[in-house]
């Protein structure tokens, strides 16, 4: 792997950039591997990388039905944070943030992880209570999250409207400073290049059509568009298509796949210094390094794999954005798109073993998978390598839905009285 640096950039420039090698080779599938990862998104490629780098498993292939990084990894609003309420959540997301911090150096690929801060706005007494509960829990868990008054919030992010006359006035905010954003595509490319350099085969345009199992029920390999490929272990990381893939192993999961839309504005000079999220006035926003405002909100209401979604969702999202940022009403939407997200009943992921021996799963990240990318990859790799979950992902079992030990981050936001 050629080391990327300003020096190599200069050296190559002198040769008209003709000498840059492929970032990952076009691999032709071998007959069999020790581990097959299904799904070359950020999580899957990350898992392959960590299997090779940290856990000594290099005979790995990542098999992808389209082009790598082309699923939700290439479509999200790039927000990274770990200020979740429950201990289990704080641990898994903070593990990811720890890995984000230093990922560019580790992969020798600039993923542009920017610790510009995530500001979550509180618009009602209930919001304030909920956020303060988060802040207290975060503090005792060692996750940075602090309470700001409306004036402090505006000082941190000047475009925010804190007028008390607003329909949902800002009553304060929770700020996680070491949270922020990264460039989504580059994470996939960075992991792909580094994994390939360690011997991992990345096989694109090769949809998995079945999971073959032996008489003992254990996995033997995957059927694909290019034929059967053997594997001792299979890790499935296919996000919105997880139900489809798990059904290939006769497993039915507690998942529902919804469209999730996002949009960008035309690029302008810097105006948004951080990420701003509002749960009650539902929308979130940041500004990319190119200058575009990146905006997202909630899912469309019905199950769909179409990756489309309706215009009125974007209308509501932008109404919320303009309510919080009246200066943006003259900005123009440049492009909108959609992905498909798999949602669990408690909105927390499933990351671990399945009832099928040799089959491991990473799914259910819903609308919040990007932030977990390095963490999910690492933990999936660990679980596959050791055939046991790591303590951090141990609570995220499929079985928790039976016993009732859910990790329900969304429940805490329920409104009543």
């Amino acid at each position: 792997m050629v080391k990327y640096s300003v020096a190599s950039l200069f050296a190559n420039a002198l040769h008209g950039h003709k000498k840059w090698p492929k970032q990952w080779p076009d691999a032709a599938p071998k007959k069999a591997y020790d581990v097959i990862i299904v799904g070359a998104g950020g999580h899957g490629l990350g898992a392959a990388y960590y299997l090779a780098k940290k856990y000594g498993v290099t005979n790995v292939a990542v098999i992808e039905k389209g082009w790598l990084g082309g699923g939700n990894t290439g479509r999200n609003t790039t927000i990274i944070r770990s200020n979740y309420l429950y201990d289990e959540s704080a641990r898994i997301y903070d593990h990811a943030v720890d890995l984000w911090d230093g990922l560019s150096q580790e992969l020798n690929y600039n993923v542009m992880f920017s610790k510009r801060g995530v500001l979550m706005l509180a618009h009602s007494v209930h919001d304030v209570q909920s956020f303060q509960r988060h802040i207290h829990a975060n503090r005792l868990n060692g996750v940075d999250n602090q309470w700001l008054t409306p004036e402090q919030a505006k000082a941190f992010c000047p475009p925010v409207n804190i007028s008390p006359g607003a329909r949902y006035p800002v009553l304060g905010a929770a700020l996680q400073r070491r949270a922020g954003t990264a460039r989504h595509d580059t994470v996939a490319w960075g992991y792909a290049r580094a994994a390939a350099a360690l011997g991992v085969d990345i096989i694109q345009n090769c949809a998995v059509t079945g999971i073959r199992r032996g008489a003992d029920g254990a996995v033997q390999g995957v059927e694909t568009e290019r034929g059967f490929i053997g594997a001792k272990k299979i890790g499935v990381s296919t996000a919105g298509n997880s139900s489809v893939v798990m059904q290939m192993a006769d497993l039915r999961f507690p998942l529902e796949s919804y469209p999730l839309q996002a949009l960008v504005s035309e690029p302008i000079k810097p105006v948004m210094p951080c990420v701003v999220m509002s749960n009650s006035v539902h929308a979130y926003i940041s500004q990319s390094d190119k200058g575009e405002l990146v905006i997202g909100a909630g899912t469309d209401q019905y199950i769909s794999y179409s990756q489309r979604g309706a215009l009125h969702i974007l209308e509501h999202t932008l109404a919320s954005i303009c309510e919080i940022f009246p200066i943006f009403k003259r900005m123009r939407m440049l492009r909108s798109w959609g992905g498909v997200v798999d949602v669990t009943p408690d909105r927390s992921p499933i990351l671990g073993k399945t009832p099928v021996p040799g089959l491991y799963v990473n799914c259910g990240w819903g609308t919040g998978g990007f932030k977990a990318t390095p963490g999910a990859g690492d933990l999936l790799a660990y679980t596959i390598a050791k055939d046991e979950p790591h303590p951090i992902n141990a609570p995220y079992t499929l079985e928790r839905f039976q016993g009732g030990r859910l990790i329900d981050e969304a429940a805490a936001a329920a409104v009543a009285h």
């Binding site: 420039a13 840059w20 209570q129 207290h136 009285h417």
Partner: protein
């Protein structure tokens, strides 16, 4: 100065002279100009700087596909719009615009240093560097990159314009009013169909606007156009929408159209919305969106003065502006010849036509000879000269994609490029219609539509005028029988990058002009392994600029296809996504702004609260009075006073927002038994019970006092925020699980105003006002409901208490709410009646250990967790949530249980949400065992109280726990949550 204005050309009135300012300099223009045409008329080509390299750029096109000439349109504070295309900005007298992305000015931009060092900035360079030292990314590199990035200036003031929206329905929507669209509209509207015609331009006509010489059915094109529009205007069933872009085509023939209403007007009427979003549901959609010309990819193809040939024709024939005096034409398509001939006929010198193709049609050669225009075939422009404006080109002969002759130089002040035509299939693709690749035109055309839609004309790959008119008419249900003078549209080729005589690694042949993506970048991407077009796009950023690849996508895909040596279909076409052109947030927001952003639900008593100084809080969509400060009180003082007054005298509280559902029918009790944990069968008519509702997962979902009016009638209350959820869940079960039950539900939340009276004087106050109800404790026990009248108004009177004091909730028809409230205030004067808000309500109930669903519970609390197993009917075989209570983790120990907390220091009021640990002195991460759910100062106890959920809390009663705060750790003891009057004796006051 009339050098570039050609008299006798164009549609705009030559006499209406107006003035405008660009980059601080005043210019003359004409009414009907765009900023671009007016600047060209003044000989100004330099209009912008490119994104990455800050190269000087002139306007390239004449329409919304423009990639270079982006300006900031300033019409005063709150009305500054960045990134406006000079080609679509309609001129008015006094217009002010500025170029962007340059410093200190457009002619001399320091940013051009990027161009000098461009070899360090190939595609994807930022992925390869800026990684060391690590801390520099956040502190140095990223801030600099962000400052250099972006195009237009960031907004600073709130937008003062407002926007409108409207729903429309029609039988036929015609998108695009060029010839095909107009023919379609004429045919469709003739038979009475409701037709909407939308076109992004300020005038209908499309390509006809720049081809005045064409004859259609015996009439000059503009005459035919004028008459056709008049016919359409005269038809009641036709709506014409110029200045309206169809931005997106969604499911089931639903489309978004944005109409621009005021940006072109000199005088702004503050009542007029700036833009209007039309949300259209169409029976059928006829797509007549035309096509866009492709640039050619060759060294130096981005200098100011290098333009699309079709743009030059539009500037001349529509705006009367010549793009130069000495114009060279570089083409791979016949269509450029007509442009050259029009320019020549208007007196412009055409320096040469440089045709890439080996042979040119004799008809065209003859026309060129007549005008003394040199045509060179099998020729390429292999490089250009001129920094702020093109001054000349080098031309050479080509064979097998190699330069075979020494280049010769010719001077020119404008170079037109014509690389073929790309059908505009954006809307068709939004709707998930499939495309098929046509090698002969080097573009995709619509194949199978996914909705009830048909594509006509150029956007369908039908390039001839006659054929386009016919297609449009047939799509509109008419007949295709047009005859025109238009020659066959002509043939052409499309090319990837064209050869140069210089070292290819040292020249710049632009593909995406705005993002500065060159042919080299695309080849680099392919070399590095990015082989699908989506990868190429994301790696190089081609097609990701504000024009979304309208003039670059196909060149990019063909260059990639050649580099991979695979057919275009394998490389793929990037996905088309709405909006077709950038669309104001405001247009999407429409009316949902300011006061209309969201409804605010108010009770009938709300007005009194507002007039009497209440401070409100939002609860779900309602606003509720939180407290009533008097004489400068802060919340603490007001709440303390309200609490004391209620417990000592009588307090009055507006409880109207609570959800109410009337459940009626022979199976009402059966239904209640299934929906709530409690047993209802034996509850006598006239009695009330506190109902607990669980989700099927066993967690507390809602609660409320429920009164049984009769065997078959229950008056159910819910939490304020939970009402819609509860009703929905009830309807769901009733309609889908137990439809055999004979019971029906009616939401009565808004029908009843509810006034709560709490305090020892409540009965005394109420008695004289009530008729038909005996209020004595024997006749009207706690948790009972009676019907009668109060001050002549029908009432359902509940004896219920959320405060622990003697309490009544008076339900009257909602429109009597305020009158009754005022009457009670007056009647209560002698008893010191005190209005109180939700904050006091919270304190009073907390003193009695009553939960607030959503505050003390959070969707993870079971009845047993909340200490409310008593609310479960033990003999009931089934109710919603029952089975889940039997799950392993629900029955396990270690669950968080509701308890009370009393701080060791009575003056410390704990923070709600503060987390609890069993032992002090832990280091982070601490082992948390619960959190504080409710916390108040209790006037009644003259100390703080709190409720919390703590693991195995009940077993820990009496034990000390700790609440670590940033500055100090507090200590508290676990106790019962019933802090005040644990025996409930206050209810028995006479």
């Amino acid at each position: 100065m009339t050098g570039f204005r050609k008299t006798g050309c164009g549609r705009i009135a030559e006499a209406q002279v107006i003035h405008f300012t660009f980059d601080g300099k005043k210019y003359e223009g004409r009414k009907g100009d765009t900023l671009a045409s007016a600047l060209l008329a003044n000989g100004v080509h330099l209009m912008g700087r490119s994104f990455k390299y800050h190269r000087p750029r002139g306007v390239m096109g004449a329409g919304s596909e423009e990639a270079n000439a982006l300006v900031t349109f300033d019409r005063g504070p709150g009305r500054v719009t960045p990134n406006v295309r000079a080609t679509t900005l309609e001129l008015f007298d006094g217009l002010v615009a500025r170029s962007q992305n340059n410093w200190p000015n457009l002619k001399f931009d320091f940013g051009a240093i990027n161009d000098v060092f461009s070899m360090m900035f190939p595609a994807g360079f930022y992925n390869k560097t800026f990684m060391w030292p690590k801390s520099f990314w956040d502190k140095v590199y990223e801030p600099v990159i962000r400052k250099l990035a972006g195009l237009g200036p960031a907004p600073t003031a709130a937008d003062v314009d407002h926007y409108a929206n409207i729903y429309r329905h029609c039988d036929v929507l015609v998108a695009g009013a060029g010839p095909a669209g107009i023919a379609a509209a004429l045919a469709a509207s003739e038979t009475g169909n409701r037709v909407i015609v939308a076109d992004e331009q300020n005038e209908l006509g499309g390509s006809l606007l720049c081809t005045p010489g064409t004859i259609i059915d015996g009439q000059p094109a503009w005459q035919w156009l004028k008459e056709s529009i008049e016919i359409l205007k005269s038809r009641q069933n036709v709506t014409l929408l110029p200045r309206t872009t169809v931005i997106g085509y969604y499911h089931d023939n639903y489309l978004g159209l944005v109409e621009r209403l005021t940006d072109h007007e000199k005088n702004l009427n503050p009542d007029k919305p700036r833009e209007r979003m039309h949300r259209v549901r169409a029976g059928k959609v006829i797509l007549a969106t035309g096509s866009i010309e492709r640039p050619l990819v060759f060294a130096g193809n981005d200098r100011p003065g290098v333009m699309l040939a079709s743009a030059a024709q539009i500037y001349l024939n529509r705006y009367g502006v010549a793009v130069g005096n000495n114009v060279a034409v570089f083409t791979s398509h016949d269509s450029a010849y007509e442009v050259a001939f029009d320019l020549s006929d208007a007196g412009v010198n055409v320096a040469s036509i440089i045709d890439v193709r080996p042979t040119v049609s004799e008809v065209l050669l003859e026309q060129a000879r007549k005008r003394a225009i040199t045509v060179q075939s099998r020729a390429v422009v292999c490089r250009t000269q001129g920094r702020l404006k093109i001054t000349g080109v080098h031309i050479a002969q080509m064979q097998d994609q190699n330069i075979i002759t020494r280049p010769t130089h010719i001077a020119c002040d404008c170079l037109l490029m014509a690389g073929g035509w790309t059908p505009s299939v954006h809307l068709f693709s939004h709707s998930k219609g499939s495309l098929k690749w046509h090698d002969d035109i080097g573009a995709s055309v619509p194949d199978l539509p996914n909705e009830n839609a048909v594509s006509v004309g150029a956007c369908n790959g039908t390039f001839g005028l006659t054929a386009g008119l016919d297609e449009g008419a047939i799509a509109g249900g008419g007949q295709g029988k047009f005859s025109t003078s238009a020659t066959e549209f002509g043939r052409g080729q499309t090319w990837q990058a064209l050869p140069t005589d210089r070292d290819p690694s040292k020249i710049k042949a632009f593909v995406d002009f705005q993002n500065d993506v060159t042919e080299k970048d695309i080849n680099l991407a392919i070399r590095e392994g990015f082989k699908s077009i989506e990868h190429v796009k994301r790696y190089t950023t081609t097609g990701m600029a504000t024009d979304q690849g309208k003039t670059s996508n196909l060149n990019a895909v063909q260059i990639a296809s050649k580099a991979i040596q695979a057919p275009v279909q394998q490389v793929g076409l990037t996905t088309f996504r709405p909006p077709y052109t950038p669309t104001s947030f405001g247009a999407l927001v429409g009316y949902r702004a300011g006061d209309m952003f969201e409804v605010t639900r108010k009770t009938s008593i709300d007005g009194w609260a507002e007039e009497n100084g209440a401070v409100f809080e939002p609860v779900s969509l309602w606003r509720r009075a939180r407290y009533f400060p008097q004489g400068g009180e802060d919340m603490h003082a007001a709440v303390t006073r309200e609490c004391e007054a209620t417990r000592k005298g009588v307090g009055i509280f507006d409880a109207s927002t609570l959800g109410k559902i009337e459940i009626v029918g022979p199976d009402a009790a059966k239904f209640m038994n299934l929906m709530y944990t409690n047993p209802w069968t034996m509850l006598a008519a006239g009695r009330c019970r506190y109902g607990l509702m669980l989700g099927e997962d066993g967690y507390i979902m809602d609660d409320g006092v429920i009164g049984r009016l009769a065997d078959d009638r229950f008056h159910v209350t819910t939490t304020t925020g939970g009402a819609p959820r509860v009703l929905r869940m009830m309807e769901d079960y009733l309609q889908t699980e137990w439809p055999e039950l004979d019971v029906w539900l009616t939401s009565t939340t808004e029908q009843w105003a509810v006034i709560a009276l709490n305090g020892p004087h409540a009965r005394k106050l109420l008695e004289p006002l009530v008729d038909g109800i005996e209020l004595s404790p024997e006749s009207f026990p706690h948790m009972a409901v009676r019907e009668g009248t109060i001050l002549g108004v029908e009432t359902r009177l509940f004896r219920v208490s959320f405060s622990g004091e003697l309490g009544f909730e008076i339900n009257v028809p909602a429109h009597y709410g305020r009158d009754l409230w005022e009457a009670l205030i007056k009647a209560g004067e002698g008893y010191g009646i005190t209005p109180y808000g939700t904050e006091t309500m919270h304190v009073l109930r907390a003193e009695k250990g009553f939960i607030i669903v959503g505050q003390d519970t959070d969707g993870t609390i079971t009845p047993d967790d909340a200490g409310m197993s008593w609310a479960i009917g033990k003999k009931k075989l089934d109710f919603v949530g029952k089975r889940s209570l039997d799950r392993a983790d629900i029955k396990a120990s270690g669950r968080k249980q509701l308890v009370g907390l009393l701080t060791d220091d009575p003056d410390i009021v704990l923070e709600e949400g503060a987390h609890i640990v069993a032992t002090s002195g832990q280091s982070v991460p601490m082992t948390m065992i619960g959190h504080v759910t409710s916390s108040y100062w209790s006037a009644a106890l003259n100390r703080s109280i709190a409720m919390a959920v703590i693991k195995d809390g009940r077993a820990l009663t009496g034990k000390s726990i700790y609440i670590p705060m940033p500055k100090k750790t507090h200590e508290a003891k676990i106790c019962s949550a019933v802090f005040y009057d644990p025996k409930g004796e206050r209810l028995n006051v006479v």
